[in-house]
């Protein structure tokens, strides 16, 4: 419930910030329709009104439930954050070591996070999935995949 409220408040803050940004946009023609910020400001206004109503509803819900302890699973957030960081590391790593190696590392960590623990099959499955996707898309379909740098880049040409 608090999470819902926080999400709605974040959306409102972002909408207000973007509205302020839109007011500083360069205007050549003073006629409203000809201004670049005319349409974004209409949308942002609707967003702020709708979001304010939603925040009011969420605040009422929170007030009605005051005194009741809400279970917050911090462990769950940790796992989710770990997966998001894992994807971010994967994106950075692709530019350095290429798609295949980074996909293997990513798949191993991702399997651990999704399963919530280590299994002996994780590394094997990770190698299999990373290899299969690299060969299928990189070699058979000829899609561009990141190659990394240095020696690894040269090696990547052998596979895809």
């Amino acid at each position: 419930m608090y999470g819902e409220l926080v999400f709605e408040v974040v959306v409102l803050v972002v909408a207000i910030f973007l509205y302020v940004v839109s007011m500083k946009m360069q205007v050549i023609n003073p006629i409203p329709v000809m201004r670049p910020n005319w349409w974004p400001q209409i949308i942002l206004t609707i967003m702020m009104i709708v979001d304010t109503v939603l925040i009011y509803g969420s605040l009422k819900k929170v007030r009605n439930r005051r005194g009741r302890v809400e279970h917050v699973g911090f462990g769950v957030w940790g796992w989710l954050l770990a997966e998001v960081i894992n994807v971010a590391v994967f994106i950075v790593l692709q530019g350095v070591v290429g798609f295949l190696l980074s996909a293997f590392v990513f798949a191993s960590v991702s399997a651990f996070i999704i399963d919530g623990g280590f299994r002996k099959s994780h590394p094997l499955v990770s190698v299999g999935v990373a290899f299969a996707i690299t060969v299928f898309f990189g070699s058979l379909l000829g899609l561009p995949l990141p190659r990394g740098t240095g020696v690894l880049r040269e090696f990547s040409y052998l596979l895809y």
């Binding site: 999470g3 999400f7 709605e8 959306v11 909408a15 973007l18 940004v21 839109s22 946009m25 360069q26 050549i28 023609n29 006629i31 329709v33 000809m34 670049p36 910020n37 005319w38 349409w39 974004p40 949308i43 942002l44 609707i46 967003m47 709708v50 979001d51 939603l54 509803g57 699973g73 462990g75 769950v76 796992w79 989710l80 997966e83 998001v84 994807v87 994967f90 994106i91 692709q94 530019g95 996909a103 990513f106 798949a107 991702s110 399997a111 999704i114 399963d115 919530g116 994780h122 499955v125 990770s126 999935v129 990373a130 996707i133 898309f137 379909l141 899609l143 561009p144 995949l145 990141p146």
Partner: protein
């Protein structure tokens, strides 16, 4: 080339057959896997299309779409878990039939009715779409903006209560706002780019869709697993689909025909879709059937109605996309993105400028629906085996496919960052009951609405009355207003009735 010529062209092309079977098989598999909707299935097939020509890419997409809508019925019938939201009413009687030892018959009914519903809607699409396209040729900018508004308002009107509708409305506006990023089409001034040249051409649809549909779902599954809320699947070995007899089908003829029309009609309406179609047709079948009192206890009609309707809605949903260039659902928004990848703008002109492509898509979708009977019969055992896969394999594969799909389109690592950003945004939207499909629709339709509305106002010398007083525009805007306000009026009326 007439439609028969196109049909012959598609039917004699072995590669088209391969793609139809691949798309159908993948669609059924994705649909059967709980947590992967038809939309997500179509998104996951995107990287497979990048090296294909437009015709083959679209054939693959529509076959996946048709298969995905049917696939949800397999788990709905066998495990009481709807693989896709539109298969939810199928659980009411389908699973009860399984408990009575009639799983094979329920699966067979679902296959035949899905195939009939899908094929019927494609035939109707072939009949209705060209006529609608001719009418749409006379549309002006204001009419286009009004039609797109109608689509968005119908989406915003969905939900279980006023709170849900507001969340969906906010999701739509978030999508519309995202569509404003980049160079303004009228003045050429950059908007919300924050000095980054990467955003000058706007936010790309594909990484947003992949992140919000596929990436977010994996995060949701991780959360469910940590909270021990994942649905247990208890496997039943040795089940094979059993086709219903002609006599059984004949006894359900009115239910099937009515459901096909309901599915087609609801599918055409922007914003409504397979889920609503299957619920409405189940309700109507229960109301009008002689066996209505037995619905919910495991009757074939209870499976036939929703399965016919949800597949009939697929052809219906393609009609506004092909004739007006306006997607009526999240899945057709993804298919629109595929058109745009190839530089093709769907709309009334498509029928005159690229008839081979349009009719090939129609023929491909028709063939996919017919093949569903064979694929469904032969594949049930295999698809059930796939359900035994552990989620860490599925989840990891989804994320890797998503990364390939985001990067492979433009060979740009920035697109993978956009995927990650919308994976997080999509997760929170799903968690707090906002609509990811509405966000995607807003993003896809945003530029169309803004540019046409501004053009119309410029043509009418900045006069709103000049724009709104066109009969068609006015009618469409009134319908839009009613669609937006009706949920609140209906709540008010029901309260009055209760008092």
């Amino acid at each position: 080339m007439d439609i028969l010529g196109v049909a012959l062209h598609v039917l004699t092309d072995p590669f088209s057959w391969v793609l139809i079977m691949l798309g159908l098989g993948a669609g059924i598999l994705f649909g059967a896997l709980p947590g992967i909707s038809a939309s997500m299935g179509v998104v996951l097939m995107l990287p497979f299309t990048y090296k294909l020509d437009a015709l083959h890419a679209l054939i693959l997409m529509v076959a996946t779409y048709s298969g995905g809508v049917y696939g949800g019925s397999i788990t709905a019938i066998m495990f009481n878990i709807p693989g896709t939201p539109e298969a939810t009413p199928t659980t009411f009687d389908g699973y009860k039939m399984t408990l009575k030892g009639q799983a094979g018959k329920a699966l067979g009914t679902a296959i035949v009715c899905s195939a009939f519903g899908g094929a019927f809607s494609v035939v109707m699409m072939a009949l209705i779409a060209p006529a609608l396209a001719k009418i749409a040729l006379s549309f002006g900018p204001a009419d286009y903006a009004a039609v797109a508004f109608l689509g968005l308002s119908a989406v915003a009107g969905l939900g279980h209560g006023p709170g849900d509708q507001l969340r969906t409305l906010l999701s739509v506006t978030m999508g519309l706002l995202l569509a404003t990023v980049g160079l303004d089409a009228i003045t050429g001034i950059p908007r919300f780019t924050f000095g980054s040249p990467a955003f000058l051409s706007g936010i790309k649809f594909i990484p947003v869709m992949i992140g919000a549909f596929a990436g977010a779902e994996v995060l949701s599954q991780i959360e469910n697993r940590r909270r021990n809320e994942e649905k247990q699947v208890f496997f039943k070995e040795g089940v094979t689909a059993q086709l219903p007899s002609l006599r059984e089908l004949f006894s359900m003829k009115w239910t099937i025909i009515k459901s096909a029309f309901i599915g087609l009609g609801i599918g055409i309406l922007p914003g409504a879709g397979a889920t609503i179609a299957s619920f409405v047709s189940y309700g109507e079948a229960k109301r009008s059937s002689k066996q209505g009192h037995l619905f919910g206890t495991g009757v074939m009609e209870g499976v036939a109605a929703p399965e016919t309707a949800n597949n009939a809605s697929t052809g219906g949903a393609m009609i506004p996309l092909l004739t007006l260039g306006i997607p009526g659902s999240g899945t057709t928004a993804i298919i629109l993105a595929v058109f745009l990848i190839y530089g093709i703008q769907p709309g009334p002109l498509l029928f005159t400028t690229n008839p081979v492509l349009v009719y090939s898509v129609i023929v491909g979708m028709f063939v996919a629906n017919l093949l569903m009977v064979f694929g469904g019969m032969l594949g049930v055992k295999m698809f059930v085996q796939f359900l035994k896969l552990r989620y860490y394999i599925i989840g990891t594969t989804i994320l890797l496919l998503s990364a390939v799909g985001s990067f492979g389109l433009n060979n740009d690592i920035d697109d993978v960052w956009i995927f990650l950003a919308f994976m997080v945004v999509g997760y929170f939207m799903k968690k707090y009951k906002f609509s990811v499909a509405a966000l995607v629709l807003g993003l896809v339709l945003g530029r169309l609405i803004e540019n046409n509305l501004r053009r119309a106002l410029i043509i009418e010398r900045f006069s709103w009355s000049g724009v709104l007083l066109h009969p068609l525009t006015l009618t469409l805007f009134i319908i839009t207003l009613v669609a937006l306000v009706w949920p609140y009026i209906s709540v008010f009326l029901s309260k009055e009735k209760a008092i």
